[in-house]
């Protein structure tokens, strides 16, 4: 009996820690989406597809061109940042004053365009970087090195965004713009430019997430479906546009998935997480930390 408990506790601890590691990347994804929603008041339905393009970029840079991972990563982040800015410039900017449903449909359209583009251009094969990172043994517990690395990099990315948002003039303007759009001109702020910068940052975060996810998952045209929906649920659970709420919700979800997976299969972890979401929508429809309106 004693022996059984020991093993059980170690598995539990391992699952809890794995949940935290998973939460880091989910929080990074949620931050990007929340940033766009909080500042521009638009939901990028195609956010996970930007990540997918980033993963392909990593695959081709590393596998095809033989560039080292650490040089490919900043290039990918830059590429997806530009993609984010382009998405804003070409699709969102002309629709800024349009009804929300039109914006939603437009970014939804971009989702299918990107998926189809990837299918035509890259085929439906599952591809991976071919980098196999070791498994870290800590006592009796095993952790994937890739997950640990992803968690740390996601944390660094989030801290960088936090510092940018609080320390710089542009970052302060990004926080101010969501509180009073009309008077930004009186501050000498060109709102169009701030929107473009915000979109590039949102894209850059998707690019960073792509660099990290490609270490753990194969890339294919529909890979966005594996984490797009969950990113939206996290943002909604945390309160759309609420950065701190999204951060907390990411870890809540990650723990449910990880712990649910411990007692059964990983798939059941997802079922539990989604069930939890539905229940929460009845209890706190505006999110864990509801955004003031």
């Amino acid at each position: 009996m004693q022996g059984f408990l020991d093993i059980f506790d170690i598995y539990l601890l391992e699952a809890v820690i794995n949940g935290i590691l998973l939460g880091g990347v989910l929080a990074l994804l949620a931050l990007g989406l929340n940033l766009i929603f909080g500042v521009i008041d638009v939901t990028w339905i195609c956010y996970a597809e930007l990540v997918m393009i980033g993963m392909y970029a990593m695959y081709f840079l590393v596998q095809y061109y033989g560039i080292s991972y650490f040089i490919a990563a900043p290039l990918t982040i830059l590429l997806v940042a530009i993609l984010g800015a382009l998405l804003h410039y070409l699709v969102i900017a002309p629709l800024l004053t349009a009804p929300p449903i039109n914006q939603l449909l437009a970014t939804g359209g971009v989702l299918f365009v990107l998926q189809s583009f990837a299918t035509v251009a890259f085929g439906i094969d599952f591809r991976n970087l071919g980098i196999r990172l070791p498994v870290l043994a800590f006592g009796d517990m095993n952790f994937s090195y890739a997950r640990l690395l992803s968690f740390l990099a996601a944390l660094v990315g989030m801290v960088a965004v936090y510092l940018f948002m609080t320390r710089t003039f542009t970052g302060t303007a990004i926080r101010a713009i969501s509180q009073d759009r009309q008077i930004m001109a009186l501050m000498g702020v060109d709102t169009k430019r701030i929107y473009l910068i915000t979109s590039a940052i949102g894209g850059g975060l998707a690019g960073l997430a792509a660099c990290l996810l490609v270490l753990q998952y194969d890339v294919h045209p529909f890979v966005g479906l594996s984490f797009g929906p969950i990113t939206f649920l996290i943002c909604v659970l945390g309160g759309l546009g609420n950065f701190i709420g999204g951060f907390i919700a990411a870890f809540v979800f990650a723990e449910i998935i990880s712990l649910g997976g411990l007692f059964s299969d990983l798939e059941w972890g997802y079922v539990l997480a989604f069930a939890f979401f539905i229940v929460m929508m009845f209890i706190r429809p505006a999110g864990l930390l509801a955004r003031r309106r």
């Binding site: 003039f169 302060t172 303007a173 926080r175 101010a176 509180q179 009073d180 009309q182 008077i183 930004m184 001109a185 009186l186 501050m187 000498g188 702020v189 060109d190 709102t191 003031r292």
Partner: protein, 234 residues
């Protein structure tokens, strides 16, 4: 310094200003008085570029304001303290002031300007880390004026600075306006509080239904029958 000639402006099909001519000379304090809905706020907005006139010309030190993009107008030296203050309620006092120094010319002098503003409003220094929305009305008005001063303007537009404030605080706000004038700033102030404002300004315009009805020095305005009957209740 500021010159408005034949300005018409409005919102959609509603016209709020009709053929407005107005001058502000360097170093002056000028008041704009008139009833609710007379177009006073529209006048301020048209000067700072929040809305564009449908006709007429606006020049700031000879520069065409209408041809300047709205976010560049603050660089001409025009700072607008909008009606109802319009602070960023969820940002700290510091961050609100920082937004006032956003434009490139002001960023380099940020620390210097912060000093000036804190010197003028010691209260803001005490509250610098507080959320702007949680302060009292008077403190918020200080913060709004401070934010405008961060850009080191030549002309300060004040839209109803006394609105919604307790009588004691209203006194303080007008004292502030005097002190700001003392620093050599030119001020254009819109007020419903006619008696008070005529004590701080050199000249005033009376605006009714979007048209300038009368203008003159403060003494002339105080003596004018139209102003007396309608606004001073004598």
């Amino acid at each position: 310094m500021l010159e408005l000639r034949g300005v018409n402006a409005g919102y959609g099909t509603f016209q709020a200003l009709f053929d407005v001519n107005l001058d502000v000379r360097a170093g002056e304090a000028v008041g704009v008085i008139g009833p609710n809905g007379a177009g006073k706020t529209t006048l301020m907005r048209v000067i700072s570029g929040l809305i564009r006139p449908s006709r007429g010309s606006i020049a700031m030190e000879g520069v065409d304001v209408i041809a300047t993009p709205p976010h560049k107008i603050v660089s001409l030296g025009i700072a607008h303290v909008p009606e109802n203050r319009r602070l960023f309620p969820q940002l700290s006092v510091d961050d609100n002031l920082k937004m006032g120094a956003f434009m490139k010319e002001a960023r380099g002098k940020y620390a210097e300007r912060l000093e000036v503003v804190f010197d003028l409003f010691p209260r803001l220094k005490e509250r610098r880390h507080q959320m702007a929305g949680t302060m009292s009305g008077g403190e918020q008005q200080m913060c709004a004026i401070g934010r405008a001063l961060m850009s080191n303007p030549k002309l300060l537009l004040l839209d109803e600075p006394s609105a919604g404030l307790a009588p004691v605080v209203v006194q303080q706000v007008f004292e502030l306006v005097k002190r700001i004038r003392g620093r050599g700033l030119t001020v254009l102030i819109v007020e419903q509080n006619v008696q008070q404002v005529l004590r701080v300004v050199d000249r005033a315009y009376l605006i009714e239904a979007g048209t300038i009805r009368a203008s003159g020095t403060s003494a002339e305005m105080l003596a004018s029958d139209t102003v007396k009957e309608a606004y001073l209740g004598v």
